[in-house]
């Protein structure tokens, strides 16, 4: 579904990704793990068009998208839940979701998606008229995911969804990610919670200082000495 081929991204003059290649097959959960500053978020930002790679090709459903402006990429079916959630904190929960439905003009579809999202996150329905900024961290993350789902994406990219959420809710969050995937949406997940994200991943990549150093299925990486030593502290 998504094919990233040898992309290079630099901030100013400083290179952040040098020749990263990987693929996300349709229907799977793919995790990219790595330490702080490895370039995980940069990959997602490059895919969603927030950053332009200086070299390389990003192909989505067979179409090169690396030169598209961000809004066109969303139209093609990629939704990005940015790190730190980035909600419109002064808008209500409902308004946040409505903004997420921007690319969907048909009101019937929008209503249907809204109901689906409320069935995944009943809390959001209860709180729909509340300002997004007054939600708890976990609820905010749910809203950020719900908002991204409003565009009915084929590929959902999540950047550090478990960051700043109380541990009890982290389990629930990973269940939700699985649930979303089972409903037919491909997921690209970037996480510092290596253990959990490898557990649910069909396929995973380890990123180190802008390069992919290890790849395999989630289980393979969980078993690998390198990952256990460097990221799981075992």
């Amino acid at each position: 579904m998504l094919q990233v081929n040898d992309i290079f991204v630099a901030y100013g003059g400083t290179p952040a990704l040098h020749g990263v290649s990987f693929e996300v097959p349709a229907g799977q959960i793919v995790s990219i793990v790595g330490s702080n500053g490895a370039g995980k978020s940069t990959i997602l930002r490059a895919i969603s068009g927030m950053l332009k790679p200086t070299r390389g090709v990003i192909e989505f459903l067979g179409e090169p998208i690396q030169r598209f402006p961000a809004f066109r990429i969303v139209q093609r079916g990629i939704a990005h839940v940015p790190e730190g959630r980035r909600l419109f904190s002064k808008l209500s929960v409902f308004e946040n979701l409505l903004v997420g439905a921007y690319t969907k003009k048909s009101p019937t579809f929008r209503q249907k998606t809204l109901e689906q999202i409320f069935s995944i996150f009943p809390r959001l329905k209860e709180r729909q008229s509340q300002r997004a900024g007054t939600l708890s961290g976990g609820e905010q993350q749910m809203l950020a995911i719900g908002r991204a789902l409003m565009s009915e994406p084929k590929l959902l990219m999540l950047d550090e969804p478990s960051l700043g959420i109380m541990p009890v809710l982290v389990d629930r969050l990973f269940d939700v990610i699985k649930e979303i995937n089972q409903s037919g949406i491909t997921v690209l997940l970037v996480e510092q919670n290596v253990q959990r994200s490898l557990e649910i991943a069909h396929r995973a990549y380890v990123l180190q200082t802008g390069e992919i150093v290890l790849r395999g299925t989630g289980q393979e990486l969980l078993a690998s000495e390198q990952v256990r030593g460097a990221y799981l502290g075992l």
Partner: protein
């Protein structure tokens, strides 16, 4: 219509709808303002309110871009000025009625705004503000040195027989009063609908977090341009009104930087990003400046700016969201009391 159910979802949920502002207060206020010129008959009193309405309209126009879409402009005098010059040049050089000129003025302002907006919306925050100042200064210098438009000496508009068609009234200022009142009503109505439309959500989303809006698929440049064009159109229309009202324009009265500052100050003081903020701001700041000017004559000019500075500081300290936020705070407390009382009966 699924769309209605969507909006009902929002309205049906427990919302805090305070005092019936729209139902009672607004019609009452509108009636009072319609009667005003016949209760207060002095030309000064008419002149005062005309200026209040003019600046309220300008503040409201600025509010669309600066308040709702969050793109603060300090160059709105450029739109005002080209609006004034467009209609005046059409009248002086080609004998075209100012009403047509008003539309032309608005459209020229829109064209200018798109020309300015497209490149400068790549800039964020302070850089955007600086770009608007610079571009407005360029327009100012161009008009000062453009002989066809009267250069630094400006343009005197011909004195024509008074009447609605000629947009000139000499014996009484009352017609101007109603015209600018109508303009204010139109801009405010537009803002009212924008605030409640999806357009309004997108503007606010862009103001809150442009990157997040972008990542949700909103073409933010396009929406900023829409906000800027709407804002510029009404600013240009006000420019034409001003030209017809004073019948003389020059770069210094219609394009200068202090005008840009005032256009921004009024909504920021009153409450930017709110429907009533710019109107409230104009109702306080304009009379303040007019009265100090009257009572202190020459010295007043500096005094009103000093007072502005003081008021802005007070607002910044006690309620940075502007004066309207103070009103709503009070209002929601009143509604709570009212609800409590109703629940007891």
């Amino acid at each position: 219509m699924a769309d209605t159910t969507l909006t009902e979802g929002a309205a049906g949920a427990p919302a805090r709808k305070p005092f019936p502002l729209a139902g009672v207060a607004v019609p009452l206020l509108a009636l009072a303002l319609l009667a005003y010129p016949f209760v207060f008959r002095l030309p000064f009193q008419h002149n005062l309110m005309i200026l209040v309405f003019l600046y309220a309209s300008l503040g409201q126009a600025w509010n669309i871009l600066g308040g709702y879409a969050g793109q603060s402009s300090l160059g709105h005098a450029a739109f005002f000025g080209v609006g004034a010059y467009a209609s005046s040049l059409l009248l002086v050089k080609f004998g075209i009625v100012p009403w047509v000129g008003m539309l032309a003025g608005g459209l020229v302002a829109v064209a200018l705004s798109l020309l300015i907006g497209y490149p400068s919306f790549r800039l964020k925050g302070h850089y955007f503000v600086i770009a608007t100042i610079v571009l407005a200064e360029i327009i100012y210098i161009l008009f000062t040195n453009w002989p066809f438009a009267g250069g630094a000496e400006g343009l005197f508009l011909p004195l024509l027989p008074e009447g609605v068609v000629n947009f000139e009234f000499h014996s009484s200022k009352i017609p101007y009063y109603y015209i600018i009142f109508a303009i204010l009503a139109v801009v405010t109505t537009v803002v009212f609908f924008v605030e409640r439309s999806k357009l309004g959500f997108y503007f606010r989303a862009i103001r809150e977090d442009p990157d997040a809006a972008r990542s949700l698929g909103i073409d933010i440049t396009r929406y900023k341009l829409i906000a800027m064009a709407l804002s510029a159109f009404f600013t240009g229309v006000c420019g034409t009104f001003y030209a017809q009202f004073v019948l003389f324009i020059e770069p210094n009265n219609s394009l200068n930087f202090m005008l840009s500052v005032l256009i921004m100050l009024i909504p920021v003081f009153g409450g930017s990003g709110t429907l009533w903020g710019p109107i409230l701001g104009a109702f306080i700041l304009i009379p303040l400046s007019e009265f100090t000017r009257v009572y202190l004559s020459g010295a007043g000019r500096a005094i009103d700016l000093t007072l502005y500075g003081l008021l802005i500081m007070l607002v910044a300290i006690f309620e940075p969201r502007g004066l309207w936020a103070v009103v709503t705070r009070f209002r929601s407390r009143e509604t709570l009391k009212w609800r409590f009382w109703k629940s007891q009966v």
